[in-house]
Amino acid sequence: MTTLRIQSILFHNELESIKRALSSIRRAADLAIAGGALSRVEVAYGDCSAFPVIGEAEVTRLRQEHAGYFDFDVTFFGGNLGSAKGHNTLLQHAGTDSVLIMNPDVVLAPDALIEMSRPFSQADVGMVEARQLPIEHPKAYDPLTGETPWATTACALIPRRVFDQVGHFDNETFFLYCDDVDFSWRVRAAGFRVIYQPTAAVFHDKRLSESGGWLPGGAEKYYSAEAALLLSYKWSREDITRQLIRQWQDLGIDYLNKAIAEFKRREAANSLPQRLDPEHKVAQFIDGFYAHHRFVI
């Protein structure tokens, strides 16, 4: 049977939301172990915050509270490593058969771990993504096979063997955002399938504006823009990279200018990523997204 590590990167998260997530992990782990899908679960948090989100005493208390359901540990990094590097740092100590990468405030449905494990009955499945509530990710997936171009690490399950073959997240290129897109495409380039599993539900607290629109935060805007330039370059679509730069540089928007400046800095320093997929067999760049989208948010 499979052992599982669930790992998340903390960055000034609310303690109550973390506790809610841990309660849901406890129940999901309990059912998965009782159902034979898993044999052991551990939860590892890496804290990128300026000060520990969970104090030592609270870590001890949580460890005791959930003893018997999962092992629990928190590593305080003492600095903001970013998502990709944070996960990679934790992965160095991961010895389980599978790793669930997820946001620390994600609440699992009781059967989420069981459902996410199901596609791995087929050996060519390399990554499984859960369906998010209340706002489902709009990217398309094959309604029969569940195949999707990439999986978001808001909640994605990856076998250890896939990490061994494909490598970890590209933290040299990506700080926050698109590290999961890049990883997914590398998984697919290695011959694995990325599966969207709608029966595996998780709740990810996202909200809308009063007019029903998406509410990206400042960090999301900047890092998404930076990642868009780097991702398109890395995946051999420099035409898109240059087009974005041309479009953005006249807009006078600070975070876009900052993203352009960072790209150019790396270009000048010859530290842009090595290019992949020169024949464009894996990566998709469609209307500003990295897959076809079923709908627009």
Binding site: R20, E115, E136, Y196, P198, R207, L208, S209, G212, I297
Partner: protein, 628 residues
Amino acid sequence: MKHYDNPFYADNVYGHVIELIQRFASERAGEVHLDIGCGFARIAEPVRDIANLSYIGFDLDAQAVASLNERGFEAAVLDLQEQAEVILEKINAAVGGRRVASISLVDVLEHLANHAPLMSAVREMARKSDAVVIVSVPNFAHRDVGFKLAFGRLDIRSEGLLDHTHLHTFTDEILKGFLSEHGLYIVDRHDVVLERSDQFFPATHPALSPATPLGAVLRSLRSGADDTSTVNQLVVACLPGPRSAPRYLATEAAVAEKRPFLSVVTRTQGRRHTCLRDVLLSLTAQTCDDFELIVVGHRLNRDEQLLVERLIEDTPEHLRSRVRLIRVERGNRTAPLNEGFSAARGRYVAILDDDDIPMAHWVETFKDLEEKSPGCVLRAVAVKQVCAEAQTAFGLVSAPLTVSGFINEFPGKFDWLQNLRVNQTPPIALAFPRSAFEDLKIRFDESLTTTEDWDFLMRTASVCGVASSPAVTCIYRWWKGAESSRSVHPQDEWRANHQKIWDKLDELPVVLPAGTSRQLRALMDHHDHLARALAEAESALGRKRSIPLPPDAEPARFELQQLLDSTSWRISAPLRACSRALRRTPRPILDPSTMPLDAVEQAVREIRASTSWRITAPLRKVRDLVAH
């Protein structure tokens, strides 16, 4: 104790007491009836002659007792404030070993300072002989009392509902509690109903008069709350049983009880596994956990029930401990709502159907609204999203597949006038004060098969008002290709329910929220402006020359064209424009050259019969006179 000499009538309290005695003692002819606090004993003769029982009266007043003796009835002096043993001894002495069929306390209890000894003795007598106890008391909750009291007026009188000698007040609930505290339980009743009690004065008091808006609203709400709004005297038949705790203790316990803020009522038919799981997951993730969940399983078969129970059992313990499953086997989709609301313990109740999704701050937003506007209906904003179902190769069941972005079609604030025409709030975006359901007895209309939530909202909003938050807190799923209320119920049924709700709204007196007068004035101004603009446009069109007809066209076509071109028809165009605007009907297109002949002939008949043609007849007469 004061005595009241009112005659016996079949339809007054005495007649109703006799009726109840007959219902229970009809097969005990020859046994004894005890009339305690009998006064002038106007039921003595009917007890003997109608109920066929031997009458014994008891009263403190020796003269009343003597009067009864002179009429040929047994009677004894009895102080109702004596100790129970003394009362029992005196009654037993009068009964002399005979079997007692019935006991009456007619308008006695409200005059006594201490009830316990008398009630103990009565219960003992009733138990010993399997006797029925008939009790009557005035009803303090008659609407005439309450409506005036709401405006600071309580008219104590020499007799009647607010007799100056009354030491206790009774409502139906108080009477039930009082009786059970003394070991008596109501098994039948025959209340005396009076549309206008002795408290119906002054007749022009706006709260009393049924002709005033205030009076109409108060009557409408009061009659819905319970069945006693016009009960003048509560007349009940009781049988003995165990004594219960004093009522006031139950009231104190209810006041002190810690209730959750919100009861969430989720209807399910157990057919959508994944959707119900999504609902439970969304509730697990709420930022505020001050709620309970009532899952109402409607007509579940055994497998469906097991599935629902399994889904509940799977939830984390902190949610599971707050979930109850109740099963409803009756009615249409509306019945589970009434059952769910009845079972609710929260201060507020929200409807979360098993195919919609609350966001993490759904409960929290309602709670914030309650703090600012307690007692109001609470409203946040839902966005609509179209969903289908899909089942991939790795799924044992189908799961929701979102196919649209967020459709923001519900306004950010509740507008009472707009909601008169059509519902603008899906039920997931609302939380209702439970008191409206429990205390005002506002219920879901189970004759409605759809839009039951809109009907309930309007009736509740009319009395509670609505507090709105512009925050988007939930997703209202619109199902494509899967079973939903829209697929199960045809359009005609939706329209019929819609009309029924309009008809109900038209019949109800309503209290309009503040600001509605301004809205109505603006609407009427806008209407007048549109009517004038339309009339001017009609008039301009009327002055245009029509296209010439071919020479061989039918005579009817020429006739219609002449009518349409006539001064009478053109000059009366504004009148027809206003009429169409009020009726919201479009302007008919009348073209004599292209209409079918039978339509042309019909149009000619209608024009000649129309109001426009008739009222312009004098003009044609004048024209004809001038022409000749």
